[in-house]
């Protein structure tokens, strides 16, 4: 019958409101947090879960609005419009938002995830780096993290590619993540430089990992998701941001301690989305293992990524100093007895 499998039986249908009345009230009555429903945003997905999400718990009496985005630009647009106060986001949209607003719109307040991107290729057409000549490699979006990484890598390997059009020794195609598997199956592309879980998805369809982006970075760590806050909100409600950051730090810690539970929890949250379903184990497991959830925004890798984008001609020379405000994060880390993180000289100057 209709709704026979419905999960909420009415009673616990309004937990968010009843719950918000419980805790101590912070300086803001309400905060809107944005995130994407994918693996590199797992701390948000898990930490903002209805009921026992750790970020929710930290926010106590402040009502939480959530907004799920499917692309960075919309998130930045919403942040600029004051519709979202804090959002999880990838590095390049943050850099672009920072650059275009002349350093007025946002600040990075914490890290969230590292790694998770790789170059996967069709082994029948590309078996080694040298075979890349003439190949068609996809990235999710012009100028996004993976796109810049691919362009940078190709130029280091000696391939010439026009960054805007993608024409060159290697053809770079920009195809939405959701269409990449179909394009791969159809033989339209020979490979893709993509984040998880798309990479794992392609591997499950017979692709092979040619290169893990981590191999190109020191410690294998590079920022893939971090947390930004609107500058106005940050100034007015540092306590709210602090609560979110604390929740994030605790969520990351929980994930680190309970990786299997984290997967289950993430998958359950995913399945609860409209039209959502659990990721199959052959995609979820490798993807989850490939991403590292950490509080450090890896500021130096952001700097390098920005330089790469500038080199590729996809970003104008930008001064990133002031893009970080890690004081809150470091305060929280100190409380939790964890080491401070470094802003690579890009922090706010007081």
């Amino acid at each position: 019958g209709y709704g026979s499998d419905s999960e909420d039986d009415g009673a616990d249908d309004a937990p968010s409101s009843s719950e918000s009345a419980e805790g101590p009230s912070l300086s803001a009555d309400e905060v809107t947090i944005g995130y994407f429903a994918n693996i590199t945003h797992a701390p948000a997905v898990i930490g903002l879960q209805e009921g026992d999400g750790l970020i929710r718990q930290e926010l106590g009496g402040t009502e939480i609005g959530t907004q799920i985005f499917n692309a960075g630009p919309s998130a930045i647009e919403a942040l600029n419009a004051g519709e979202v106060d804090v959002t999880f986001i990838g590095p390049n949209p943050a850099i672009n938002g920072w650059a275009q607003s002349g350093g007025e719109s946002l600040r990075i307040v914490a890290g969230a995830a590292s790694g998770g991107a790789s170059l996967v290729v069709n082994p029948e057409t590309v078996s080694s780096i040298d075979d890349l000549a003439g190949a068609r490699i996809a990235t999710p979006q012009l100028g996004n993290t993976q796109d810049v990484a691919l362009l940078n890598y190709l130029s280091e390997e000696g391939y010439e590619v026009d960054p805007e059009s993608g024409e060159g020794d290697v053809s770079v195609l920009r195809i939405a993540n959701s269409e990449i598997p179909a394009a791969f199956d159809g033989g339209d592309i020979d490979g893709a430089w993509v984040p998880e879980p798309t990479a794992a998805n392609l591997v499950s369809r017979g692709a092979e990992t040619l290169l893990d982006e981590g191999e190109l970075w020191e410690n294998g760590q590079y920022v893939v998701t971090h947390v930004i806050a609107a500058q106005g909100f940050l100034e007015e409600h540092p306590d709210v941001v602090e609560a979110i950051v604390r929740g994030l730090v605790r969520t990351n810690a929980w994930i680190g301690e309970n990786p299997e539970e984290a997967k289950t929890s993430f998958n359950a949250a995913l399945a609860e989305l409209p039209g959502g379903s659990e990721l199959p184990a052959d995609v979820l497991d490798p993807a989850f293992d490939h991403v590292e959830f950490l509080n450090d925004p890896l500021a130096s890798t952001l700097q390098v990524g920005a330089e790469n984008a500038v080199n590729a001609g996809l970003l104008e020379e930008t001064d990133l100093s002031g893009i970080y405000d890690l004081s809150i994060l470091n305060g929280v880390l100190a409380e939790e007895g964890q080491p401070e993180v470094d802003d690579a000289g890009l922090g706010v100057e007081d």
Binding site: Y2, T66, I68, N70, S74, S178, P274, G276, S277, L279
Partner: protein, 303 residues
């Protein structure tokens, strides 16, 4: 001398492959036999209900065959059963009607507002030369702007609320509806306007009693296109503005399925959207159209 009995002999047509088509094209012109017979209900069933069912059945069969032949791997092209399973699941979870209702109510409300705005706008463009010269072509230009173009602006003005969704829907549908009424008004035979004028219809009286009814057939056609624009703009807007507080619509649903590479889900959503579109046509536009055309003697009727 060849005697052709006009009541019974069909028009002679070349016996080529095209003959069937030609005969079809002549169909409306050929007088239909009067149907006083009691078999009338059956006839209606046969001509109105059976053809769409046959059409749908055919599509399903071809689909199933393609599926079985595995022209594409099953995860790319799921079969009807998979898609049905997906719909069924939404049904059991009790979310199906919510998705449909969220989108449909938004679509209809947005459409109604678009009609309320687009109609006077269209009338002004159609009837006031200066306005037409000033914004007529801009209307067509606006109509061809993709909805996505409005999203950043709408978010700035209206935030992540239903306001943004409606703004995008309006900006998509209003120019289309306005253009529809402009076309309708342009096609009014001047004789009616003159007759209305001689009867003393001026200004709004003239609009109400002459202009609008005279333009109605063209206007309705415009409304139909306007509905399609509303609905598509809505889908685009729903992709962008996705907050649990606002309820989930079919647009978000499809996007989520796409993100998760769930082809059965994508197809299920497509079918749901199709069903809504067909239902709106069958329940609203078709009867309206038929009434308008029949009242004016523009519909050939049986008997």
């Amino acid at each position: 001398m060849a005697s052709s009995d006009l009541t019974t002999t069909p028009p002679s047509s070349p016996s080529s492959d095209l003959a069937g088509l030609e005969a079809g094209l002549d169909a409306l012109e050929t007088p239909t036999a009067p149907d006083h017979e009691p078999g009338r209900v059956w006839r209606v069933l046969l001509t109105k209900v059976v053809p769409p069912i046959v059409a749908i059945a055919l599509v399903l069969i071809v689909w199933q065959l393609v599926y079985l032949a595995e022209v594409q791997p099953h995860y790319l092209l799921p079969g009807p059963a998979d898609v049905w399973g997906e719909v069924n699941e939404m049904w059991r979870e009790g979310t199906l009607l919510e998705y449909i209702w969220t989108s449909t109510s938004r679509g209809i409300l947005g459409f109604l507002v678009a009609v309320a705005v687009g109609t006077p706008l269209g009338l002004l463009v159609a009837r006031v030369k200066l306005v037409r010269a000033a914004i007529g072509p801009i209307l067509t230009g606006l109509q061809s702007l993709p909805s996505i173009a409005w999203v950043p602006a709408a978010i700035i003005w209206f935030g992540l609320t239903n306001g943004t969704i409606y703004a995008v829907v309006l900006l998509g549908a209003v120019p289309s509806i306005a253009n529809g009424i402009v076309a309708g008004v342009d096609q009014i035979p001047p004789l009616y306007l003159r007759a209305g004028r001689m009867l003393g219809a001026r200004g709004f009286t003239s609009v109400r009693h002459v202009l609008l009814p005279a333009a109605l057939p063209g206007y309705l056609a415009g409304l139909k296109q306007g509905w399609a624009f509303s609905w598509r703009s809505l889908m685009a807007a729903e992709l962008i503005v996705h907050s649990p507080d606002l309820g989930t619509g079919l647009g978000q649903l499809m996007e989520n399925y796409r993100t998760l590479q769930n082809m059965s889900g994508v197809l299920a959503t497509i079918i749901l959207i199709l069903i809504v579109g067909v239902a709106i046509d069958l329940l609203i536009f078709s009867p309206l159209e038929r009434r308008v055309l029949r009242g004016r003697g523009l519909l050939a009727r049986a008997s």
